[in-house]
């Protein structure tokens, strides 16, 4: 369990999302009426505006859409990694879901690079995520 100074601030819409990451799973709000995925977790389906929703586990895989290399960080927990790659990843489940996270890889990053999620446990109830290339075993 990693000590972290900057932590998510869960509310009633997001507490289960962070709990799932602490438990090693990436979950996304999923509409059981129309099938649309909504991220970040919200109390209404962005597809059909219904509320027959559940936080369902996703495959946790996707493609790098964009990335930056952070050379100057002001986040205390991240300074140790500088310079590090921060990637915006499109989930396989739905093309308009972009989830940012540190990309842990020695390979040269490019658009379309296949990646998978690396859940990180901060506390018993709070998790975070990073990404690594899909070929790295879980």
């Amino acid at each position: 369990m990693a000590e972290r100074l900057v932590k998510p601030m869960p509310d009633r819409d997001t507490v289960a999302y962070w709990q799932a990451l602490a438990d090693g799973k990436l979950v996304v709000t999923h509409c059981h009426d129309c099938g649309h995925w909504t991220w970040p977790p919200r109390p209404i389906c962005s597809g059909c505006h219904g509320d027959n929703l559940a936080l369902d586990e996703v495959k946790g895989t996707g493609e790098v859409y964009s990335w930056i290399v952070v050379h100057r960080s002001t986040t205390p927990d991240m300074m140790q990694y500088v310079p590090y790659c921060l990637a915006l990843v499109r989930l396989d489940e739905q093309a308009d879901i972009y989830i940012p996270g540190r990309l842990i890889s020695d390979k040269e990053v490019h658009r379309g690079m296949r990646v998978r999620v690396v859940p990180e446990r901060i506390t018993d109830h709070l998790g975070d995520l990073a990404w690594t290339t899909e070929d790295v075993p879980a």
Partner: protein, 392 residues
């Protein structure tokens, strides 16, 4: 039809006074003091009295003095209208639109729009000095990974634009050089040392693809403007600067489902409404002050507000289209947030008013009747805002 901008009270309110403080790295005073100084200067410029003020509009991220404290200090017994909008540069021009609605509806007679900020000496936007913190709202999904400052978010979108249109670092560098060149003869500007494209390319990485010279300044200072109805404006000392149109609202961020390409300009969702509100098109704009917290948003706005097709800005930069003296669309004539100072966008209004009045001295552009002034693009908050100003 309502909702598309056509019913905006076009040209019914006017900016009649402008005021500012010195722009510096350390004001040595509170944002309260800065705001009162800028307001006093603006009211004097308008030929009015403090007692005429009955509306106060501002915005910020809990880093400035609020309207109720100013009203008490200025002795305003009946504050008829106020806006204290939480958020950053994305709402910088929404307060202008809101003040116009208030004045044209007769809800208030004399509204001040102001922004006071100790952006270098007190609360910095880059998060420096942030100790243990917890990330609230949608920021909670970015901040833990260290994705927390606007430079990083804008750089991510700049990369998407590079991948789609072949935009290069040099293209962004030309915007940095243009801004600095325009600041050289601006007595308000914090940065008056020339830079070259080589200087830009050699400047250190902050969030690759952003160099240090892609990033705006951090500034202490304040700007205030006075807004009254257009009829009253005719009796005051300066050429009235009419608020011809304004739009504020939806933008694009990673948390807005439905956008499948973040290389799209977040100005696009408000651009049609903006020009409809003014009864104008991009061809009617003489010069523009684009919100330039970073270089890339300038490029994205030139596209998004319809001055060219996506991907055409780099060629236009090389051709000098945006140069102050000779370009077809002079931009950021004072040096912008990149080189004049970061008063969170309100300094763009100050400059546009000076230009429209013909008071911009060495910086004066030839055609100076109609200006586009914009707030930040939607990437960070999901909002954008902009106004079109016209000399009466």
């Amino acid at each position: 039809m309502s909702g598309n901008g056509e019913r905006f009270p076009r040209g019914q309110a006017a900016i009649v006074g402008i005021g500012c403080t010195e722009f510096s790295k350390d004001s040595g005073v509170s944002t309260f003091a800065l705001a009162t100084r800028a307001i006093r200067a603006a009211i004097a410029d308008a030929g009015l009295e403090i007692g005429d003020i009955d509306g106060l509009c501002t915005y910020g991220t809990a880093d400035s003095v609020s309207p109720n404290l100013l009203a008490q200090a200025l002795g305003i017994q009946s504050l008829n209208y106020y806006v204290d909008q939480y958020l950053g540069g994305s709402v910088s021009m929404s307060v202008m639109g809101q003040a116009t609605l208030a004045v044209s509806a007769g809800v208030a007679d004399c509204v001040i729009c102001y922004r006071a900020i100790n952006g270098r000496s007190e609360i910095r936007k880059n998060g420096a000095g942030a100790g243990p913190a917890r990330a609230p709202w949608d920021i909670q999904f970015k901040m833990p990974s260290g994705y927390m400052v606007p430079a990083q978010e804008m750089a991510m979108n700049a990369r998407a634009h590079m991948l789609r249109y072949g935009t290069t670092s040099e293209d962004l560098g030309r915007i940095a050089v243009l801004s600095r060149t325009n600041a050289l003869d601006n007595e308000r500007a914090m940065m008056r040392k020339p830079i070259t494209l080589d200087d830009y390319m050699a400047s250190e990485w902050i969030a690759e693809p952003f160099h240090k010279l892609d990033c705006c300044l951090e500034t202490d200072g304040a700007v205030a403007v006075v807004i009254v109805n257009a009829e009253r404006a005719r009796d005051l000392p300066h050429r009235p600067v009419l608020i011809q149109g304004a739009a504020w609202g939806g933008g694009i961020s990673i948390a807005n489902n439905g956008f499948d390409d973040l290389a799209e300009s977040p100005a696009r969702p408000i651009a049609d409404r903006l020009f409809k509100s003014a009864g104008m098109s991009p061809q009617d704009i003489d010069f523009a002050e684009f919100y330039d917290c970073f270089t890339y948003p300038v490029l994205s706005q030139i596209e998004g507000y319809g001055f060219c097709k996506a991907g055409e800005v780099p060629g236009m930069l090389k051709d000098g289209a945006f140069d102050r003296a000779t370009g077809t669309l002079p931009i950021n004539t004072h040096g912008g947030l990149l080189s004049e100072g970061y008063i969170h966008g309100m300094n763009h209004v100050y400059e546009a008013v000076q230009q429209i009045r013909g008071d911009a001295a060495h910086r004066q552009v030839k055609k100076h009747d109609v200006a586009l002034v914009t707030g930040q693009l939607g990437y960070v908050s999901g909002y954008s805002s902009a106004t079109i100003l016209r000399g009466a």
